[in-house]
Amino acid sequence: MYRIVAKETLVPSIQLMKIDAPAVSRKGKAGQFVIVRTHERGERIPLTIADMDPEEGTVTIVFQEVGKSTRELAMFKAGDSIMDFVGPLGIPTHVEKLGTVVCVAGGVGVAPIAPIARAFKQAGNKVITIMGARSKNLLFWEERLKAVSDELIVTTDDGTYGRKGVVTVPLKEVLERPEKIAEVIAIGPVVMMKFCCVTTRPFNVKTIVSLNSLMLDGTGMCGCCRVSAGGQTKFVCVDGPDFDGHTIDWDIFQARQQIYLDEEKQALQEWERCGCVSAAQKGRA
């Protein structure tokens, strides 16, 4: 069992949890992910690492409540324990001194991009960060990103905070500046990552995306997470999660994200109908 040391609701439906996992916190690097399982009947949930504190022995995860499993996880409190926590998995984000890099984050993608932006900053890069959310009340970690960025641009879809619109608009503007952009790193919803790649392509700027595909074991055993990259089949869990976004077949990726849509809906409905509280309590017992 792995104890939840601290829990914080960052914005409605996005939760932060600090998990007591000393071994993972010692080994984990920015860009890697963990797999979480709340209880004996639970599914394995892959989550990109949002922060690590090797001295404290903790790993921070940030997740959005989407389906049954994440809503159930959200019901756990500080002091509770989750059944399984495995990591660090995947290949860390490749960080080196490149010059100027642009980090683009959308929605819950702000969490995994934070340690990556920090690592690029520490490696001596100029970091320009663009973060976006649907609305002001869904923005989090602005200060945290500001602290590791030379420039921070905030957007909201509805214009309630920062610039109105989506992240690709300021991204295009940054690319049009005379300054050479060495690399763009984009993490967020699939559509956002896809359009970041569409935006950067004419500028010929390498664009790294962190793919959050469906997974099972996370160690290369099943191929559930396979993507088509540069015409070749790759496993996100062992070959990624970072990929050159310009090589990804986004249509296949988007289709594969939908495989269990019906089942996810069914699971959530049944859970809501027959007492979600008791289910979560069962997990804690």
Binding site: D217, E263, E264
Partner: protein, 464 residues
Amino acid sequence: MAKLDLNRVEMPRQEPKVRAKNFKEVALGYTEDMMKAEASRCIQCAKRPCVAGCPVNVDIPEFIRALRDGNVAESVRILKGKNALPAICGRVCPQETQCEEACTLGKKGASVAIGRLERYVADWELAHHSEGKPQIPPPTGKRIAVVGTGPAGLTCAADLAKMGHKVTMFEALHEPGGVLIYGIPEFRLPKAIVKAEVEYVKSLGVEVRLNSVIGKLDTVDEILSSYDAVFLGTGAGLPMFLGIPGENLNGVYSANEFLTRVNLMKAYLFPEYDTPVKKGRRVAVVGAGNVAMDAARCALRLGAEQVYIVYRRSKVEAPARHEELENAEEEGVIFKWLTNPKRFIGDARGWVTGMECLEMELGEPDASGRRRPIPKPGTEFTIECDVAIVALGTTPNPLIAQTTRGLATTSHGTVVADEQTGKTKKDRVWAGGDVVTGAATVISAMGAGKRAAASIDRFLRGAQ
């Protein structure tokens, strides 16, 4: 003594029509009377060819004699002396090509049903716990890390613990057992049996650390700084795909994924368990090994109306155990022999709707000694399916090899190790099972684990 019966005692099984709809165990095991009748068929011959036929050299005539004499507890002692996982072996060993193939009786009639008797003894022990904790010699003070908790690792760990060494096992998944848990379905090997056997290994003082992906968490080199020796029993967990168009369509699974969802994650109990699996209406399984049979039979039990096995060679060349082919046939799996998939066909939303295949014929034998399948041009046809499962085999996960200095591997990705001792090219590291041989059987992995344990023990005592 009554005249020798040349026919073996049949083991009761669930009716095909009934069992094809449930995940309960197919084979039901001998009753006491059946066991006695079968045990008394063993003629206790002097040559004992069955023992040599067993990869872990179980004293087969002795355990059968104890059974015949009504001393089941003694039979347990003899069996467990050589085999730490008898309830598993009694169910999934290919006895027909090992101990039973060698049986003297086989020359005249049916060989003794050694596997069924082994299962009886093991199940009796699980129910009666006659055997107290085995005598373990005083601690040697040596520490061994076993990576992987499948059959090779469990056997190696059990043997080393019985020799007085302190063993820690590392498992990547959240449950121990490796392929016994994620691969082999409940109806062939109930998970309660695997759990009980793992508990036995733990009762010997073996520590099991779950959720530990060696190579990502600690590397083998790091482990070596705090352990005297390492055994790698990491199996062959990487699925092979066909490499044909459409393989990334929704509904196309590797057998590993399909079986892991169903077995480890218990997707057949969805939504009671959280992990889903697509229950196809028409399911096509590519391949004809045991894993393909397991996948096909799981698909039936999930409610598929039609399940096809598609194989490019003929029934004679099918690598699955005869018993598994027969079980699948009885349950209604449809076999498409001499059929090779060319591409998967999908709809506009990216879901598989069919598999275009080509008829084959057999030519001259190839490097594997089996007749080479040759395509018959112009014979393309489509098998409609909404789920397709690729069961072509597996190769070792490269994670350990990539992160361990000086560990030699072959071009197939397997770890190079001495066949007799399991010693790798790297100091203080042994390996055995599928990670060395490529995908093989549970018992051959156990045999390798056993030989490695003996070699590690010799090394540690020599180094004292």
